[in-house]
Symmetry: C2
Subunit: 308 residues, 2 copies
Amino acid sequence: MAKQQNAPCDVVIVGSVGIDTIETPVEKREGILGGSASYACAASSFFVKTGMVGIVGTDFPKAFMKLYQSFGIDTAGLQVKEGQTFRWSGVYEQNMDHRRTLSTELNVFASFNPELPDAYRKAPYLFLANISPELQLHVLDQVRKPKFVLLDTMDLWINVALDNLRKVIGKVTMLTLNEHEARHLTGAHSLVTAARSLLKLGPRYVCIKKGEHGSILFSKNSISLMPAFPLEKVEDPTGAGDTFAGGFIGALARSGGTSEEAIRKAMTYGSVVASFGVEKFSLDRLRRLTPREIESRATIFRKLGRIL
Amino acid sequence: MAKQQNAPCDVVIVGSVGIDTIETPVEKREGILGGSASYACAASSFFVKTGMVGIVGTDFPKAFMKLYQSFGIDTAGLQVKEGQTFRWSGVYEQNMDHRRTLSTELNVFASFNPELPDAYRKAPYLFLANISPELQLHVLDQVRKPKFVLLDTMDLWINVALDNLRKVIGKVTMLTLNEHEARHLTGAHSLVTAARSLLKLGPRYVCIKKGEHGSILFSKNSISLMPAFPLEKVEDPTGAGDTFAGGFIGALARSGGTSEEAIRKAMTYGSVVASFGVEKFSLDRLRRLTPREIESRATIFRKLGRIL
């Protein structure tokens, strides 16, 4: 990893790194690599040099660290701390639409204090994946004038850290969250109304994720509809939103832009990478994914989705 | 109406005509015009001459009959029978996603035996909206070589008339049904798998409707994604699927084609007309809708939905 540590990163992503046990109607997989930072960094790494900020315990398998390296992920910002790695287990119901958390062990993640290596601080594109708004604010304080900051969150923070959540939403370029969270946070049922209300908190863009139904991008004066790539088999939807967001920020960084057109193009790539990711558990599909496969599916996707 | 009776229809639609009482979280409306044939014929009438096949009782308000005429709907196939018109009442839950039927009174609809006036029998485009598969088959027997037959159905017929349902599916060009029905009918969770299984029953196209998430068109060798036009306010989603299907068949008939491209273009118009329809109860929005508004929203829709 030494060779990576001094080169600047195009994208920096802070989030969770975990060891997951996941049960679907078809299969149960134990001790697999998970966490928002894992999915998002892997997805972003297809497009640009990506630095990871996270924390793992001393039990974190060397094989997982090697897997990050095989993606070319810069792990200079991944802290290794005495103790156990964050663990999560969950089960998907019959139709994969709903998942139930069976257990969450925060372990070293409970004392996570994200510190950015120097090489990360000038990164032009930043993705604050789902961690507490307080930590997201702390990361924002350490970066110097990023061109574009993407923020994700989750229901938990709406319930227990609403003030800080609103504060960090006010400081980012784009907020991404799922439709349930958008409704929860605003009290509005219509996603158009919810997005308008979220835009008032400060971000220039709000992207509402709808899982297998795609996503919608809102700005003050525009709406863009993005379907999801249709899949016959979904082995494990865990991390789909993180993969979408990671692919998005990586593709946006590769374009070098921040315009609405650049954002829409980057969302296409986020959707495409996420559609591959859910075909297998953990990073099993992404580790075998090639740039050519991404381009090929993006071309098909644009064709399937043309409104005539 | 006399002037309409001898001119041939471009589209014929058979379905229910009802008097509805609908309660949403915001408002309750009693005794309003409903039924699949009402919504579908109104939507189709924006594009071509449309004939309605249905049944009402002698209590059917003259104002509703006049409303059909104001759309230019040919009502030569609408039987008026001694007795009460079909009545339905339902309530939408908090988020408009689920509706509960409070009561259904079949009345004259229980003895419905659809007979097509001569002027209807050569109609090139036919929409068999949601009635029993047995009656749908009976209507099919009366038409001479239609170019395109669209079929809708509902859960009830999957439960009580599966054999006839499969039989009629095998005789039509395109089947449309919602995602729940597609899963119910095939036992597959993936919509791609469900559609493949439905295509094997005979139709050239299967269109799975996903409500506010749009629809997907499947053929043996292709998939087309159609988002829904994003709306801030939905007053009443009743009849959205019928309005979509009616707008679709009308626009397809106007094009004169049956190619996949013609079908995709027609789906755009179906989506647009349906997006207007749900803005108000019953036909309240459609009765004021203009062709210019349809074109204008279709243009916006194509722009919002471009995958870059």
